[in-house]
Symmetry: C2
Subunit: 333 residues, 2 copies
Amino acid sequence: MKQTEEMKKVSLGIDIGGTNTAIGVVDSDGNVMVKDSIPTPTHGDIDRYIQDIATAVREIMKSVRLLNPESRFMGIGVGAPNANYYQGTIEYAPNLSFKGIIQFVDLLKAQFPDMENIVLTNDANAAAMGEMVYGGAKDMKNFVMYTLGTGVGSGIIVNGDLVYGHDGFAGECGHTMLVPGGRVCGCGIRGHLEAYCSATGMKRTAFELLAHYNATDSLLAGKSYQQLESKDIYDAAVEGDKVALEVFEITGNYLAQGIADTIHHTSPEAVFIFGGPTAAGDLIFDPIKKNLDKYLLPVFRGKVKILPSKLKMGDAAIVGASALVWKELEKKA
Amino acid sequence: MKQTEEMKKVSLGIDIGGTNTAIGVVDSDGNVMVKDSIPTPTHGDIDRYIQDIATAVREIMKSVRLLNPESRFMGIGVGAPNANYYQGTIEYAPNLSFKGIIQFVDLLKAQFPDMENIVLTNDANAAAMGEMVYGGAKDMKNFVMYTLGTGVGSGIIVNGDLVYGHDGFAGECGHTMLVPGGRVCGCGIRGHLEAYCSATGMKRTAFELLAHYNATDSLLAGKSYQQLESKDIYDAAVEGDKVALEVFEITGNYLAQGIADTIHHTSPEAVFIFGGPTAAGDLIFDPIKKNLDKYLLPVFRGKVKILPSKLKMGDAAIVGASALVWKELEKKA
């Protein structure tokens, strides 16, 4: 079979996490062809890290060329914490060992001078882009992506493009104020959504409920604060544990409150939710849907779809980052 | 002096309020050349109302042609409650007597078939557009406008254009949740920003404080709930009245909380504030600026300007509506 030009085009995705850096090559349908991972270093030496990334990228390009000698690498998309799209920089990322403002795109360009499109954005923005290019938002121009993990990230799409705002840092819906004076958020401010709706937030809710009910017989009562994970809450909820079930009810209601704020701002067609807690399915989606309308202006009620992300959990970060490249090509076309 | 083509271009602005409909002709610098006003009818007959508007518009066009026979009318911009930009409709506006969905733009086009650009949006969006075309946001691509009046409206500009969202109704920052379970908002939901930061919200705060302190000697203690206006609170604050001063402190703090939510969503360069309460100057702006950072992620602190609108209070609605026309021309160019 003769290959079309489209079939030869692939894009590279790099996801920089606090522990690992995932690198993959993705075809234009969003399939990961080859992937690899290197540790995100703790030594703080950005030049060494860039060298390590470049080596891994070259290896991976070699593997792809073995699979298909005609492969055309269209660019590299990078998802990273505290990433500034406009500047191509990673700025003061608290979970990385590199200090200050890192000229990440320039450093990577120096390694791959022939690669025309090297773009960087934060991981949640990359996930939103992945949803639009490969996932459930292919036909949407206005939607929002919430990513639930250790924290809560988000990416806002308006008129078919990511909202970066004036300085490149827009889309921090995880820091919507839910409970003035409430729980301490990771950012230090009290009452933000992230403190209630992240995987960690669910654990905090579980411990509050254990204390509230003195629920010695809950399936969650045997684990320490260090031990308990959101997966345990899901498992207990499936067994019918009352505390665990209430955690999902409360989390969904808080998410509904935050999502309503987002809807009042940007009136999306849908809100996609990505991340570990969404594996619980109806347990988390039902209380969001049930509570949403009570926070919304009449004009928005019953209109906005609340959907699970269609990105595959393990590949989403790479796939999202690689999607940045296709979007960049589309802008230049 | 010979006129340039630019000098001949004028645009019409129509602002539909609950009581009056203001109509004006605005030059490309944002100066109102001629204006008029007709009552917004309570009879509910949209065809009669459109006839009345058309008559007034024709009269006003005649006056402008007397001033400058070479005037070229580039279009009509309309600001209205519950306006849908995409559809050109006014939908279920609670303060107007016209029921259901009104095909406003189509009806107006039937009266002025030669007028190429007839556009409709809600009044706060129109004000944001006015700020960008004629006001303090001329050089900005990302900003937000809050309008404080009987209610609180807002318009969000991203990448130099209004955010309409999927259905045309985006930008309802007045319905950000500030106090879960708090005051009943005009929309029926408890705790929204509008219930705290509108002119009415300030009156509600004043009455709560009078009750809280049993402040018989406050300058505000002599007026009934029906009598008290936000202007009275300003006058009392200028006299050093403690209750009135605290109303401004509290209102500013609540605005800061809501504006922080907006900043976390869209990361604007500036937030403009328009409306009666802004006449109080530092009394309202100082507590916003003082409190804002405590609600913001570090990356946004000290970055976002909080500015009074540069639109003239009396003309802003007409001027904002007329600005829609210039923007429409820019899009087509």
